[in-house]
C-alpha cells in the first residue's frame, strides 16, 4: 500500500485517498445540513392525578404547528395500543400548543404510577413522540365505567413528512449528529490498532524492522483518534450527563484501552536496543489487542450503560439509527478509517526517512 508518487503533480494521489476526502466532505455536509424530524422538547405539567381533566402545554422542536391546524391530533399512550385521544388541541404558534385530555380514573393495568407517552400527529410534518411525558398518580375514587374511555389504537394512520431527515430523540436532539463524528473515531481507533497488531504479527514471522515501524505508526495515529473520541465524548457528556466523566462503562473501557497503548509507548521509550524494542513491542501489542476484544465488545454489553445505542450492538443497533442515518453513518466510518490509514502511512514514511538518515 506504500506507493510513492512518481511525478511532482499535487493531484497524483492514490484513489483511496481521493475517496477518503470526497467521502468526508459528503459526511460533513450531509451531517450538518439535513434537518431533524419534529420533536417534543417539553410538556408541562408532567404529572397529574387520574380522573381529572388536564391541559398540557407542549413545546415542540423543528415543528410548524400553525401550517395546518385542522389536522392536528394527539394521543396519550399507556402501553402498546392502549390510548386516550385528546379532546381539543389549540396551536398558539409554530412551537407551542395546548392539548386537553381527560384522564380516566381507572386503568387497564394496576401500577403505582402510570407513565404516559405523548404522541402528536400533524398533516404537514408527521409525528412526534415524547416517551414518559406525563406521570399519572391513581385516583382515590375509581369509576369502572370510565374503562371504555381507553381506546385500542395502534396509531398507524399518521402522516410521514416527505424528504430526508434524521430522527428526533428526546435526550439527544441535535447531538444525534455526533453519530457521524464521534462514533467513527472509535471505529477508526480499533481498525488502526488492528492493523498495527497485524504488522506486529508480520514482525513476529520475520524480524524486519520495517514492520515494527509500520505497527508503531498505526499505534500513534490510533492513539490520536482514541483521544479524539474520548475528548469529543466528554464534551457531549458534560452537556448531557452534566459531567465530563461519569464512570460509564464505555468511558472506562475506552480510557483503559488508551492506557494500555500509552503504556506500550512508554515501554518503547525505555528500551535502548532497537531489535529488543521491536520484539517487545510486537509481543505486547498482540497480547494487548487480543485482550482488548473482550474489553471493548463483551463487557460493555453485560453492564448497564447510559450511553446512546446501548443494549446489543454499541452503536449500530436499535432505535438510534434509522435508514437515513445509515446512509451517512457508514460513509462516515469508512471515510474516517481511510483518513486514519492515510495519516498513519504518512507517519510511517516520516519515521522511515528519519531512520534511514
Amino acid at each position: 500500500m506504500m506507493q510513492e508518487s512518481t511525478t511532482n503533480s499535487p493531484f497524483r494521489l492514490a484513489a483511496w485517498k481521493w475517496a477518503a476526502m470526497i467521502i468526508l466532505i459528503f459526511v460533513f455536509i450531509a451531517g450538518w445540513i439535513v434537518p431533524l424530524k419534529p420533536g417534543i422538547i417539553k410538556v408541562t405539567p408532567d404529572r397529574a392525578v387520574a380522573g381529572e381533566m388536564m391541559v398540557v402545554d407542549v413545546i415542540g422542536y423543528n415543528s410548524f404547528y400553525l401550517t395546518d391546524t385542522t389536522k392536528l391530533r394527539g394521543w396519550l399512550r399507556l402501553s402498546g395500543d392502549t390510548v386516550i385521544q385528546a379532546h381539543h388541541i389549540q396551536a398558539w404558534d409554530d412551537r407551542n400548543l395546548s392539548a386537553s385530555f381527560y384522564i380516566p380514573s381507572v386503568f387497564p393495568v394496576r401500577q403505582e404510577a402510570y407513565p404516559l407517552t405523548l404522541v402528536l400527529d400533524h398533516g404537514a410534518e408527521g409525528t412526534s413522540i415524547l416517551p414518559n411525558a406525563i406521570f399519572i398518580t391513581p385516583a382515590s375514587v375509581q369509576d369502572t365505567a370510565e374503562m371504555k374511555l381507553w381506546f385500542r389504537d395502534k396509531i398507524e394512520h399518521v402522516h410521514e413528512k416527505a424528504g430526508v431527515q434524521y430522527p428526533f430523540r428526546n435526550i439527544l436532539a441535535e447531538t444525534i449528529r455526533n453519530t457521524y463524528f464521534h462514533v467513527p473515531m472509535w471505529f477508526c481507533m480499533i481498525i488502526l490498532f488492528g492493523v498495527s497488531a497485524w504488522y506486529s504479527l508480520q514482525y513476529y514471522r520475520n524480524a524486519d524492522i520495517d514492520f515494527d515501524r509500520k505497527s508503531v505508526a498505526f499505534i500513534k495515529v490510533g492513539l490520536v483518534f482514541g483521544l479524539l473520541g474520548m475528548v469529543t465524548g466528554m464534551l457531549w457528556a458534560k452537556n448531557t450527563w452534566n459531567a465530563y466523566w461519569s464512570w460509564d462503562v464505555k468511558q472506562n473501557m475506552s480510557a483503559i484501552s488508551l492506557l494500555i497503548y500509552a503504556a506500550l509507548m512508554v515501554m518503547r521509550s525505555s528500551v535502548e536496543d532497537d531489535m529488543q524494542k521491536a520484539r517487545l513491542t510486537a509481543g505486547y501489542n498482540m497480547f494487548a489487542f487480543v485482550l482488548l476484544i473482550p474489553l471493548l465488545f463483551i463487557i460493555p454489553r453485560m453492564t448497564d450503560s447510559l450511553h446512546p445505542g446501548n443494549g446489543g450492538n454499541p452503536a449500530l443497533g436499535g432505535e438510534d439509527l434509522d435508514n437515513t442515518m445509515r446512509m451517512v453513518f457508514y460513509p462516515a466510518v469508512v471515510g474516517f478509517i481511510l483518513l486514519g490509514l492515510w495519516i498513519s502511512q504518512l507517519v510511517y514514511r516520516t519515521d522511515k526517512l528519519k531512520g534511514n538518515l
Binding site: 450538518w32 422542536y61 441535535e174 490520536v224 483521544l227 475528548v231 464534551l235 495519516i343 538518515l357
Partner: protein, 70 residues
Amino acid sequence: MSVKSILAFLLLMIFQTAQAEGESTPDFIRSIGKIYVVAGVCLIILITLFIYMIRLDRKISRIEKRQKNE
C-alpha cells in the same frame, strides 16, 4: 505523547471557559437542541487533526533540511 495530552487538556480548558462565559446567557451551548455540542465536536476533531498534520509537516521539513546538509 505528552504533547498530545497537553493538547487535549488545552482543548478541554477552552471549552470549559467557553461554558463559564455561557452561564451568563442561559446555557448557550445547550440552546437550539444542543447543536453547539456538535459544532464543538467537529471543531475538536478538525483542529486536532490539523495540529497533528502541522507537526508531521514540521518533522518532515526537519528531515529534509538534515538531508540537504549531508
